[in-house]
Symmetry: none
Subunit: 415 residues, 2 copies
C-alpha cells in the first residue's frame, strides 16, 4: 500500500505554521509498514485541491487529508472531495449533538456555521473527534481509500491513533507484521551515537535502524518485519542486545518514555517525595514533572525564587553564600536544594540557578547553570552546565539535564 498525505491550508503556504501533521502521520504509517512517497501542501482553493487529488490518485492507493474540516468558508476539503467523488454530504446526528454539547460546556453561543462541521461524506466511516468539533472520515472506493482528518494537531493526532489506525491495520491484515521499538538515549550526541553503531547502520536489513535527535535527546528506532509477532520481537531483541553492549549506559528508556515519566516511575516505586527551588527555570522543572500524570504522588511543591531577596527571605539561603560565591554558584544551588527539601519536608530537594540569557547573571556568562540536588541526609551535590542556546532552549535543556542528573544519582543508589 502506497500513501500520500495532502495537507490543506493557506496558512501552511504563507509559512505561518509548519506541516507537523505530515510528520506525525508519516511516522504512524511507517509503524504500520505503509510506504509514503509524497507529501503535498495545497491552499484553501477547490480547483488546486482537485488537481492535487488527481495527481495523488495516480501515484497512491491511500490518500490522507489533514485540514479544512472546520466551520468557516475557507474550510472546503470535504466539499471538494464530495464533488470530486460524486458523494453527497449528509448530516451526522451524533456529531451534531457533540458540537451542540461542546458549546454548552464552553458556555459559548453556537453560530450557524458550526453546524456545517457535522456534515460527512455519504457512506463513510465517521471518525470521532474527542478533542474538537469536526469529525473525521474514512471512505473506500473501488480503487482508493481516503482519510479526512482535522487540521489542529491536538484533534488530529488522537483521531489518527485511536480511530484511523485500527482501520488501516485491518486493511493490511494479510500483509506481514511490522513491529517497532524505540530506544531512548541521553548524554550522547547523534553523531557520536552513529559512530558507535556505524556498522549496524551500514548493514541494516531487518530490523532497520533509524536514529533521530531532538531537544538534547537521541532515539534509535528499530523496525522489524516478519510473519509472526513473536519472530518480529526476536529480531528486535537481538539487535537491542547488541546496541546495549555498546551504548547501554546512555539508555534511559523506551518508546513513549520521557525523562519525566522515568523519574516518576522511580520516585513512585520507591515512595520518594520531591520539591524544588527554581530561579532561572522559574517553575519549568516542576511544570515538566507535573506534565506527567501520576506525578502527584511524588511532587509536593516548591518555590520559585527569582530574586536574591526571595532566595534569602523566603527560602532561607544565607546572604553570605550569595555574597561570597554569587547567586549562580555551586554553594547557592546546593543550599537551595537543602533548604527547599527541609521546608517542604521531602526526600529530595532540587535547586536550579543560572543565567538563561541573553545577558549574564550573578557574574556568570549567559548559559551558565548550577544544579544542586539533596537526597535525604546525604551531603548535597551539584553540577555545572555551560549552555550555548537561546534563552528558552537553555531553560529547557537545564530542566532536561536536571531530570537526567537526578535519575543517574538515584540509579547510583541502586534505585
Amino acid at each position: 500500500m502506497k500513501a500520500e498525505i495532502i495537507a490543506v491550508g493557506s496558512e501552511l503556504l504563507l509559512g505561518q505554521i509548519s506541516n507537523t501533521n505530515a510528520r506525525f502521520i508519516s511516522s504512524q504509517l511507517a509503524e504500520l509498514g505503509i510506504d509514503v512517497y509524497y507529501h503535498t501542501v495545497v491552499g484553501d482553493n477547490p480547483n488546486r485541491l482537485v488537481d492535487s487529488i488527481k495527481i495523488a490518485e495516480n501515484r497512491a492507493d491511500l490518500i490522507i487529508f489533514s485540514g479544512g474540516l472546520g466551520p468557516t468558508k475557507d474550510d472546503l476539503t470535504k466539499e471538494t472531495i464530495s464533488k470530486h467523488l460524486n458523494k453527497n454530504l449528509v448530516l451526522d446526528h451524533h456529531a451534531l449533538i457533540y458540537i451542540e454539547d461542546f458549546f454548552k460546556r464552553m458556555n459559548r453561543k453556537m453560530t450557524e456555521n458550526n453546524k456545517k462541521q457535522a456534515l460527512v461524506l455519504e457512506g463513510c466511516t465517521v471518525l470521532e473527534n474527542k478533542h474538537g468539533m469536526a469529525p473525521g472520515m474514512f471512505l473506500s472506493t473501488k480503487t482508493h481509500s481516503y482519510i479526512l482528518l482535522p487540521g489542529p494537531p491536538k484533534e488530529m493526532e488522537p483521531m489518527f491513533q485511536f480511530e484511523a489506525k485500527p482501520i488501516l491495520s485491518k486493511l493490511l491484515h494479510n500483509e506481514s507484521i511490522i513491529k517497532s521499538h524505540v530506544i531512548r538515549f541521553y548524554g550522547i550526541g547523534e553523531a557520536e551515537l552513529e559512530t558507535e553503531v556505524q556498522d549496524l547502520l551500514h548493514n541494516q536489513t531487518n530490523p532497520t535502524l533509524a536514529p533521530l535527535a531532538s531537544d538534547g535527546e537521541v532515539t534509535l528506532r528499530l523496525t522489524a518485519k516478519s510473519d509472526t509477532e513473536e519472530e518480529a520481537w526476536k529480531l528486535i531483541d537481538a539487535m537491542q542486545t547488541e546496541i546495549f553492549n555498546r551504548l547501554g549506559k546512555f539508555v534511559y528508556g523506551y518508546n513513549n518514555d520521557s525523562l519525566a515519566s522515568k523519574l516518576r516511575d522511580i520516585l513512585v516505586e520507591n515512595n520518594l517525595t520531591i520539591s524544588a527551588a527554581e530561579s532561572m527555570t522559574a517553575g519549568l522543572f516542576q511544570s515538566e514533572l507535573a506534565a506527567v500524570s501520576g506525578m502527584g504522588q511524588a511532587l509536593v511543591g516548591g518555590m520559585i525564587t527569582y530574586t536574591e531577596d526571595i532566595k534569602i527571605k523566603q527560602l532561607g539561603v544565607k546572604e553570605t553564600t550569595i555574597k561570597e560565591f554569587s547567586v549562580v554558584s555551586s554553594p547557592c544551588a546546593e543550599e537551595m536544594a537543602v533548604r527547599v527539601k527541609e521546608k517542604f519536608g521531602t526526600n529530595i530537594g532540587v535547586g536550579i540557578t543560572g543565567a538563561a540569557g541573553p545577558d549574564g547573571h550573578g557574574g556568570q556568562p549567559a548559559g551558565t547553570v548550577w544544579i544542586g540536588i539533596a537526597i535525604d541526609d546525604s551531603a548535597p551535590v551539584s553540577y555545572k552546565l555551560n549552555l550555548s542556546g537561546m534563552r528558552n532552549t537553555n531553560r529547557l535543556r537545564a530542566v532536561k539535564f536536571t531530570i537526567h542528573y537526578l535519575i543517574r544519582l538515584l540509579h547510583d543508589q541502586g534505585l
Copy 2:
C-alpha cells in the same frame, strides 16, 4: 510569480523530521509578495524527484528545492536536475577551497566523497554556504527559475536570506510593495470572529484578510499590495479601524506580541511586581512569564503548592477554606492569591487551582480551574474555567487565560 517548494529527503517521508524549511521559505516568499501554491515532499529517489519537478514546472515559475546537496550517495538533487535540464555539473573551485578549509579547521580528514559537494550546475549563480559545506545554486532557463538549497535549516536559512532573497528581489524589481500586519485576539473563537467580519472576508480584495487559530488564540493577518509603502499602510489602517470597531475588546496585541510580552509591558511600565501560587499548573504560569526576557523586573517568585498540606502549611491557606469549599474553589483560589501576594510582598498575587485531568480533583470534574487574582489592597477576584482538553492542553489554556484575565483586570484599572 508563482512558486513551488520541493523538499527532498526520505527522513521527511518517514516522519523523522518536520518540513520546517518549507515554512521558513514560504514566510520569506510571502514577504516578497511571491505566491506559493504548493509544497511537495519527495524521497531520495531520482525517478520520483523528476516526476515532481515535471508537475511543478506545469504549475509554477519558480521552483525551490531544499535538501539532497550533501556528500552521500542519497544526496542526488543536483544530479537529478542536471540530467533533467541537460546541464553539466562542473567543479566550483571557490567551494572546493572552502570545503578543504572546513576540514582543516575541524581537524578532520577530508574523505573523497566530500568533493562532490563542490560540483554545481553549469551556468548557475553559486550561493555561498557560510554555515556548512554544500553551496546552493540559482539557475534560470527560458521558462523557469530554480533555486537549490541545502537541507539543514541552519545552513539553508541564512543562505536563503542573504544569497537567494536579494536575487529574487531583483527579479521582482518592477512589482508592487507588499506589507503585512497581524492583529491578535483572545477570548473569541475562530468561528465567532469570522461571523463578526463575514462581510469583510467575503468582499476582501486589498488588503486581504486571513484568520488563523492556535492554542486558544486567533489572529487576523492583513496583507496590502500597493505602489508605495505609505499607501500600503493606509489600506491596512483603514481595514484595522473597521475591525476594531467590531472586535476591539478582544484585541490584545499585534505581530510578534504574545500574551506574556503584553503583560510584561504593562507590569514594567507601571512598576508593578507579581508573584503566584500554582497548584494544577505547577509552575507553568511563572515559567511562561519568565520565558519573556525582561520579566525579571516584575516577577519576584512564588510557590508551587501541589498538595493540600503544602497549601495550608507553607502558603497559609486556611484549612477550613479547603474543608468547606474544596481545594478547587473560588475561595481557595482567592486565598492563594492573597497569601502569595503578602508572603512575597508583591503588588499582584495569582492563585491557580484546578483538575488538569484525566481525573477530577477536589470534588470537581477534570478541566475545572479556578483562577484567583489579588491586586494591592483591592478585594480578590476569581474566575472559573471549564476546559475540555487533555491534561497538558488544559494546563496551558489555564495559564494563557490567567495572563489574559490579568491583562483585562489591569486594563479595567486604566493600566
